[in-house]
Amino acid sequence: MSVRIGVDTGGTFTDVVLYDDETNEIHTTKTPSTPPDFDRGVLNGIDKILEQTDTDPGDVSFLSHGTTVGTNAVLEGEIPNLGLITNEGLRDVLEIGDQTRPDLYDLQTDKPPELIPRYLRREVPGRVDSHGEVVDELDEDAVRTVVDELAEEDIESIVVSTLFSYLNPDHEERIGGIIEAHEADLQYALSSRVHPEIREYERTITTVLNEAIKTTVEDYFGRLTEGIEQRGIDVPLNIIHSGGGIFTAEQATQRAVRTITSGPAAGAVATEKVSAQEGFENAIGMDMGGTSADVSLIRDGEIVRSTEGEINDLPIKTPMIDINTVGAGGGSIAWIDEGGILHVGPKSAGADPGPICYGQGGEQPTITDANLLLGRLNPANFLEGEMELIVEETRDRFAETIAEPLDQSVEEAALSVVEVANASIARRVHNVTVERGDDPSDFALIGFGGAGPLQTPAVARRMDMEDVIIPRSPGVFSARGILIADVRVDESHSYRERRIDPAIIDDQVGTLAAETHDRFIQQGFTDEEIRIDRAIDMRYAGQSYELTVPVEDDPITSETIAAATDRFHEMHARLYGHAMEGEDVEVVTLRVTGHVPTAPLTDVPETTAAEALRDVRDVYFADHGWLETDVYDRNSLATGRTVDGPAILEESGATAIVPPETEATVTEAGNVHITL
């Protein structure tokens, strides 16, 4: 027997998926997350699923995990003490940032935290210019002095970041050598190794964040690995990274900054597979959990990616799936401002105390409470009755805090709450489609996460989208993404020449590709499994927005560059509405991506023999009011079965809604397709 396990830790719940390679069956479960020691929740989840499926820990052949532990550490400012060595006169670059204030109309706003205090940021003479040539020699005596000084401080590691090190890393390497030779045995990190690209502030902060998160995740992965071994599970722990691939826990530690959107990236991977399965080239993933909704995009069958993100107002430069987050989740709190306008979020009741209806002491009305009052959630079925809902109390609190101040009935007020949340998600969908030259009606909307399937049809309707897909086990869909993600590494560095020279590009990309390939071989993968994709970032000379253009030819020749340039003009025209074909185009960054495919899941949808129609109850809909609505057990609906709206589809961990005047069909693959 052999099983694969994927675990996705969210702020509220930890989701677990187990796939049995022999029976091709999928099993899922959910346990509460256990902040701040998230590893307990992960191990609880593993125990729970092993017990439920009566699996021997020795039969686990693959274990993969999505985590936000590193992200939380940064958000909560719990990072270790670090030192910095940089150029003379420039130690404040890290703290000045881009000199803007985070909030324009707030006199009490604050800059993001400085991460390394000024007295631990040291300067040394030595300067490289914009061609990578040395202007002032590195003063090694000065370096020795600052290293001696920093060795006296209570720090865990030293970050080294000097100007133009992405062009010429010699000064950084020599500083690293001096730290290494120092008797204090200090750790260090060079910006030219972590993020060898232009813009000193972004490169430095990315290196600092990587080094800071490293310590946190190292401990976390250590505890987790120990717990896994204790259970007799004898496979290495894989981690999903922001780019939607998996890498080893060791790589996740060394490149810790790449775990920053680990969980949401898994949702995007799963979205890509389901959209392919259902024949949609273009799809939008809407992953709505307890605290927020993450929107991702599939265009022409490919996940839309980015090379930068943000955390706590700090920029991070790392390859990642383009995930756009809105502060609207099931637990988001509805409130009325002093002028009488209704808002939802960004504050969330989280898992504790949670919505009012969880009966754990929550007193503030949430989206989940609104859905309960609209008859959309079944109090008896909710979370398989693991949490007792307090319907009456919810109604009273809702009436008092929302409906009465708005002078509306409880139902109207609940509907307003749901609609306000939908409008903010729809606006984000608009941001990532219309504003980038795409028409949302060309996309299918794929709704998942605990709260996604309830809201998806309404969001789709707001954006004139016609197809909604609710995948199987939507509540644990991201964990499924973790199971199917390919092994993937992204490598890049700045192009180090002024003029475009195909031979040099070919040589440099070739080197990156060969290094990536070798590393895979060392990990035990075979030539046949490894695929290396190559790309270059191009921009109009003098501009600052680059676009990543794939290049397929090997070797890269002048024809390759000409074709890439054409492609660049096309992409620019689509995104920005115009291309400037007469303008010079420059190459800024060289990229390679290595993949090793993970075996697909070949589970077939299974339907329980029970009668699918479970109940009939009144559900409140916009423009209709209360309607008598059929309630189905989602897992008893056979493939090919069609259900007319209004209907509710219930299953463990999620409830989907089929609005009036629409119909839902269970597809061959077992997903629900709602046609609006």
């Binding site: 404040d92 204030r101 009490q108 914009s130 401002d337 504003e435």
Partner: protein, 572 residues
């Protein structure tokens, strides 16, 4: 009556339109100043010329759009679908010449249903010096191309001859053309989206929602003003000089609160100047309202309703309402100081919300020359430098940031050095530049640039070298600005409005002011003073003389007995 939930959804839709306009403008523009520094903004007006929505990134531009659009569109009866009006005329409601606005009427079935408008800071607008900020012109004609409100766009296409006339008068015309086209693209998106919203809601409902939204903002702003005690509050300060005459110039602001209304009156401010230190009423409006908005409702939807309870008085012939085509290039320096004056005047009324003086300057820096690395190609660059933020009731002022309506980013050193033949030798906080206080002010920034192997021209159009940013409630004033050539070997201090010819390898040093302190520095917790001393933000000497704290730097500790003694002594 519109339901509150529906109104919130409507607000999302409206905001979505102006944000999409803003993103379009930013992404399609050519110049760094718009693409990276985001020196632009977009807004929508309804058919009654009421301001209904704005993209919240650069309030200075909003101030100008709010004055220009109604004033110049009201009496035009010749507008056709697809028209676009270009305007930058300070004497028709606009600001300084580099901020160029494009206004497009939006039609539906032959009727005007609204206006899409945007404003963007162009890096060059002609005139004698590169960068659009001449320091010594004595009339508007010496500052560049004046556009009094001309139909430059028909049927959503620029009149190429008109555009050719404009761009023939500016430097780097290709870049500029790209920026003008980006401005048109933004309004085009506004037309499309606002048209969709109009169809979705219908004319009547749209008006009802807009009335409701504007009333909502007005209601809240009025109730916030009402909570303040009625009375007259004033503040004043002096500017350095106008670029021609080296004489200090008074700016004075009197705020009168009467029930739910507020008057901001500049009466008493110095007369208009011969040099470019003149500020149009639109600039004064933008400078004061940005701070008023922060104090009275930073989260509210910004629209016509916000402005209704306010009257702004700018006496004709004063330097906040110049006449006779006086030059205005440095006007934003007065406007940002007016923002500081709002916080000062309101200090006793809103002591918890207000802040001490910020850096109080825009700090316009422009430089140009011929690049020795590439066949002596001509280059021009424009940037602004952050400084200290004022101390606050419970928080220190931020170190090294932009202030009030100004929030433009810096240029990354590696990008700058790649593009321009210079080395940034220092980009750092200035020790002891903060105003001491229980909550100290923020530190100013020093930016030293070495222009290697060529002669260059270095322009500062700024202020604040003569008067320091003030502290509040016993907080001390901060270090003033300093502009110096070759600061380390043979320092030559230059004026705050000057153009200097630099020799090869000269270093130009821009040293911006700190922010004022809040509250008595003797009440600052000694451990906070210690932290600043350890971080070399405050010197051991200043810790002693102004904070009354004796720090043992070796030991990184506070000598408590000595501190007690010092504090008693300084207090006396």
């Amino acid at each position: 009556m519109v339901s509150p939930g529906k109104l919130e959804i409507f607000r999302h839709s409206l905001k979505g339109i102006v944000e999409e306009m803003g993103v379009t403008l930013q992404r399609t523009a050519y110049s760094t100043n718009i693409k990276i520094r985001r020196d632009h903004t977009c807004a929508l007006f309804d058919s009654e010329l009421r301001h209904i929505a704005q993209h919240d990134i650069a309030p200075q531009h909003i101030g100008s759009l709010v004055s220009v659009v109604p004033r110049n569109m009201r009496d035009r009866d010749d507008l056709e679908p697809g028209d676009g009006i270009l305007i930058n005329d300070p004497y028709k409601g606009a600001v300084h010449l580099p901020d160029v606005m494009l206004i497009c009427p939006l039609f539906h079935d032959g009727e005007i249903i609204g206006y899409a408008a945007n404003s963007a800071h162009h890096v060059d607008i002609g005139g004698p010096t590169p960068g659009g900020i001449p320091t010594d012109s004595t009339d508007l004609y010496g500052e560049g191309v004046i556009m009094p409100g001309v139909r430059a766009v028909e049927d959503w296409e620029y009149d190429e001859e008109m555009l050719g006339l404009i761009t023939r008068n500016v430097r780097s015309p290709e870049m500029r053309v790209g920026d003008y086209r980006a401005q048109l693209g933004a309004n085009r998106i506004g037309e499309e989206r606002f048209g969709e919203l109009y169809e979705e809601y219908g004319a009547d409902a749209l008006t009802e929602y807009l009335d409701e939204l504007i009333d909502y903002t007005e209601r809240l702003v009025r109730s916030n003003i009402q909570e303040l005690p009625d009375g007259v509050y004033d503040a004043s300060d002096y500017m350095d000089g106008d670029g021609i005459n080296d004489e200090e110039l008074l700016v004075t602001l009197t705020i009168e609160i009467d029930d739910d209304e507020m008057t901001l009156d500049f009466t008493g401010t110095a007369a208009e100047n011969e040099g470019p230190l003149n500020c149009t009423p639109a600039m004064a409006f933008a400078g004061t309202m940005a701070v008023v908005m922060s104090l009275l409702g930073g989260d509210l939807p910004k629209n016509e309703g916000f402005y209704r309870p306010f009257e702004i008085i700018t006496p004709k012939g004063s330097m906040v309402n110049p006449t006779d085509d006086r030059p205005v290039a440095a006007g934003w320096e007065i406007a940002i100081r007016a923002g500081d004056l709002v916080t000062k005047a309101m200090a006793d009324v809103l002591p918890e919300e207000t802040i001490a003086a910020t850096k109080g300057i825009i700090c316009n820096i422009a430089y140009g020359g011929r690049d020795p690395r590439s066949d002596d190609d001509e280059y021009v660059y424009y940037e602004t430098v952050g400084g200290g933020y004022g101390g606050r009731a419970t928080k220190d002022g931020m170190d090294g940031v932009q202030a009030h309506y100004q929030n433009t980013a810096n240029s990354p050193i590696e990008e700058l050095e790649t593009e321009i033949p210079l080395y940034v030798r220092r980009y750092e906080y200035i020790q002891d530049s903060e105003g001491a206080g229980r909550q100290r002010g923020g530190l100013g920034i020093r930016r030293d640039m070495e222009f290697y192997d060529h002669r260059s021209s270095f322009t500062v159009l700024s202020d604040r070298t003569k008067n320091q940013p003030w502290g509040l409630f016993g907080g001390h004033a901060a270090r003033a600005a300093n502009y110096v050539i070759n600061p380390d070997d043979d320092p030559e201090v230059v004026s705050s409005k000057s153009t200097t010819k630099l020799d090869p390898n000269d270093v130009a040093s821009v040293q911006t002011p700190g922010g004022g302190g809040y509250g008595d520095p003797l009440e600052r917790p000694p451990e906070d003073v210690l932290e600043d001393v350890v971080n070399e933000k405050v010197s051991v000497e200043k810790a002693e003389s102004e904070y009354g704290v004796a720090v043992d730097l070796e030991d990184r500790s506070v000598d408590e007995a000595a501190t007690r003694e010092l504090r008693e002594e300084v207090d006396r």
